[in-house]
């Protein structure tokens, strides 16, 4: 069974996530992982869902999700076809003129550049929300193509666990 990534753009409104997640449980689809965050448009969120299954299952999940009125757009990928990192992926419109500046800023923030094309740079960054917000603020003046931002993962310090 292959792992597939569903990239789902939804209305950034209360209750939308439970509609999306509820659909998985009631149709008997399993979620391997889920990450939600707002995109460059404040009224649009991106839900990134990883599922295991065959093409037919992924097609059915995608079609069922598409029926939700609050779902704007869906794309599915094989997991091996895309970069997958925790917390934040940011794709910069970085043509020749600004490319060096963007790379330098990424280095200062200890971010990794994980994908390059003639016109874009895709940067991966992990860290707390302050660090990410600060980085986003810096990148804002260069032209952000898109952002996928994951939820924060937390574990308690020390020996005590839940």
């Amino acid at each position: 069974m292959n792992k597939h990534v569903l990239s789902v753009l939804v209305e950034n409104k209360p209750g939308v996530l439970s509609k999306v997640v509820g659909l998985f449980s009631r149709r008997g689809f399993n979620i391997d992982s889920l990450a939600v965050g707002v995109t460059q448009s404040p009224d649009v969120s991106r839900i990134t869902i990883v599922v295991s299954g065959d093409e037919q299952l992924v097609e059915q999940i995608s079609k069922q999700l598409n029926k939700l009125v609050d779902v704007i757009k869906i794309r599915t990928f094989l997991e091996s076809d895309c970069v997958n990192r925790e917390l934040i992926l940011i794709k910069m419109k970085a043509g020749k003129s600004v490319r060096q500046e963007v790379i330098q800023l990424a280095t200062i923030f200890r971010a990794n550049i994980i994908d390059v094309s003639a016109s874009t740079l895709t940067i991966e960054l992990t860290g707390d929300s302050d660090k990410i917000n600060a980085f986003l603020q810096m990148m804002g003046s260069y032209g952000v193509a898109e952002i996928a931002r994951g939820g924060t993962l937390s574990l308690e310090r020390g020996a005590h666990s839940l």
């Binding site: 939804v10 209750g15 439970s18 069922q64 939700l68 009125v69 609050d70 779902v71 704007i72």
Partner: protein
């Protein structure tokens, strides 16, 4: 113009063509009731909210427009759930409006508070919790659009009572609807249609499987012309009954576990099947994947998720069935294909027909099949039938002559006992000129029989044919087959005398116990003015097939 939220709701309902509203008042919806008399909307007072949803469903299925029901917060809203789920499973356009507690109290477990938008996610096409009075007009317009376009379905709007009371400067939203996440399909892909017609030209034993989509898209004329032009035999699902009159020479009946022999034979022997607006669900086809591995399927549905869900289609065609059949009719002469002569295939299917016109028998009990045949005869094709759920539903599906387009209204997908009586009331209000007949069993009938009162209150002239076998016949039948006759909790002892009960409501009634009394009783029922209950005594051991 200053309006409060309640007036806004009612004004937007009027704007969307609502003339009848099925509801039950409560504390959270009092503001709506306070303004009701200022608008030209007739309110039908139900006796339980579940019935409000069923009535709205019956209304929608007869009129082709969304039915509207209204309930208060908490238990009012949860009582709607079964009705909403019933509509969802049968793709019925429905608007459910629920009152909610004051928005400042939401989440505080206030009196009669329930998260109804959360609870109805899996059984609504879409739902809203209104957070601002000024968003109401657009939400209501969007809700009507979503409920009635694409694959129809229920949409719920939950409105906190403070928003119903909030006053604002009313402005009408723009007429055109633009919801970026909702773009229903209409036209079918032309290349796919050409491929489908090529496949038809190569077929020897083509078949049409008519589903509920034909009825909900009101594609009656196109469907008639399509099957006539290519002389295609028709079988139907339960929901597809009424897509074409059941007396049509090309119609071979309902398929499936409780279906007709000729229909199931046709399904087994066909080399090409046009599946029109059907989910190919488990009660219709037990092995849908086997079916598609053996036969070429052309699956036409407005919901792309239905194609490939239960079966694999050789040619998927997404769009509105009415539009696609229109495209097929327009395109087929230009394609220059020659289509198969189906004469010998039709003759083969005719030889499998098993319907017989029954004669009255002597002895105790009425044969329900004979009764339904006599009823069909007496109704002269004018009947619109609703059913409850159980054995009588299967008898009705197989034995009634349905000649009115969409004239068979039954809970197919969800199998909701108690649907038939309220649905009949809704259907009658939608088209008062129809003879609306509710076929019931004594189990289902008792689920929502309180609606006899709302039927009388609103003056709906419904004829009820109640098959009384004193038990839950369908479950008894299952216990007979699977549990070797170990009958548990299927006896309905303690039930009332139904004729006396009808009398208590001022409803005319008659009981028949023998076949020979049926023709007279049926004619008396149809000839009388006002509601009528015909109690038909049947044998508990009578099978549903």
């Amino acid at each position: 113009m200053k309006r409060n939220g309640a007036e806004t709701v009612l004004a937007m309902m009027e704007e969307n063509g609502v003339s009848v509203l099925f509801g039950y008042p409560g504390a959270a919806t009092v503001p709506i009731y306070d303004k009701l008399d200022q608008f030209s909307i007739r309110h039908i007072l139900v006796r339980s909210e579940q019935s409000a949803a069923h009535m709205a469903s019956g209304w929608a299925r007869r009129s082709g427009k969304p039915g509207v029901c209204l309930a208060t917060s908490g238990p009012g809203a949860t009582n709607l759930i079964t009705g909403i789920a019933t509509a969802y499973m049968d793709s019925v356009p429905l608007i459910a409006i629920t009152g909610q507690v004051d928005s400042k109290l939401i989440g505080k477990d206030a009196f009669q508070e329930i998260d109804i938008t959360g609870a109805t996610i899996p059984l609504c096409k879409h739902n809203y919790l209104v957070q601002d009075v000024s968003s109401l007009p657009q939400i209501i317009n969007d809700a009507f659009y979503i409920a009635s376009t694409g694959r129809p379905g229920p949409v719920l709007i939950d409105i906190p009572v403070d928003i119903l009371n909030a006053v604002w400067e009313f402005t009408m939203p723009p007429k055109e609807i633009n919801i970026r996440g909702y773009k229903p399909a209409d036209k079918g892909h032309e290349l796919q249609i050409k491929r489908a017609m090529t496949l038809l030209s190569e077929a020897k034993r083509p078949l049409v499987l008519a589903g509920g989509g034909i009825v909900s898209s009101r594609a009656f004329a196109e469907f008639r012309e399509f099957t006539k032009r290519f002389r295609l035999p028709i079988i139907s699902t339960l929901m597809g009954i009424g897509a074409i009159e059941t007396t049509h020479p090309l119609y071979y009946g309902m398929l499936g576990s409780h279906g007709k022999k000729a229909a199931n034979y046709a399904l087994d022997e066909a080399d090409l099947i046009f599946v029109l607006g059907s989910r190919i669900a488990d009660r219709s086809v037990s092995g849908p994947r086997i079916l598609s591995s053996r036969t070429n399927l052309i699956h036409i549905d407005i919901d792309p998720a239905e194609i490939g869900k239960n079966t694999v289609a050789k040619i998927p065609l997404v769009g509105n069935i009415k539009t696609i059949l229109g495209q097929i009719l327009a395109l087929s002469p230009e394609l220059g294909l020659s289509y198969p002569d189906t004469s010998s295939w039709l003759a083969e299917l005719d030889s499998k027909r098993s319907e017989k016109t029954l004669q009255p028998r002597e002895g105790a009990y009425v044969n329900p099949i004979y009764c339904l045949q006599e009823l069909s005869k007496a109704a002269h094709g004018s009947g619109v039938f609703t059913t409850e759920v159980g054995q009588h539903q299967m008898w009705a599906a197989n034995a009634l002559s349905i000649e009115q387009p969409g004239g068979f209204i039954s809970s197919g997908g969800f199998g909701t006992m108690g649907y038939g009586l309220p649905a009949a009331i809704g259907a009658k209000l939608a088209s008062p000129e129809d003879t609306v007949i509710c076929i019931a069993g004594d189990g289902s009938f008792q689920m929502n029989l309180a609606e006899l009162a709302s039927m009388c209150q609103c003056g709906a002239d419904i004829k009820i044919v109640l098959f009384n076998n004193g038990c839950l016949g369908m479950i008894r039948e299952i216990q007979k087959k699977r549990c070797k006759g170990h009958y548990v909790e299927v006896s309905l002892e303690g039930s009332p005398d139904y004729c006396k009960l009808a009398g208590a409501y001022g409803i005319q009634s008659r009981r028949v116990e023998r076949d020979r009394d049926v023709p007279g009783a049926v004619r008396e029922m149809l000839g009388c003015r006002g509601p009528y209950l015909l109690e038909v005594m049947t044998d508990p051991s009578q099978s549903s097939i």
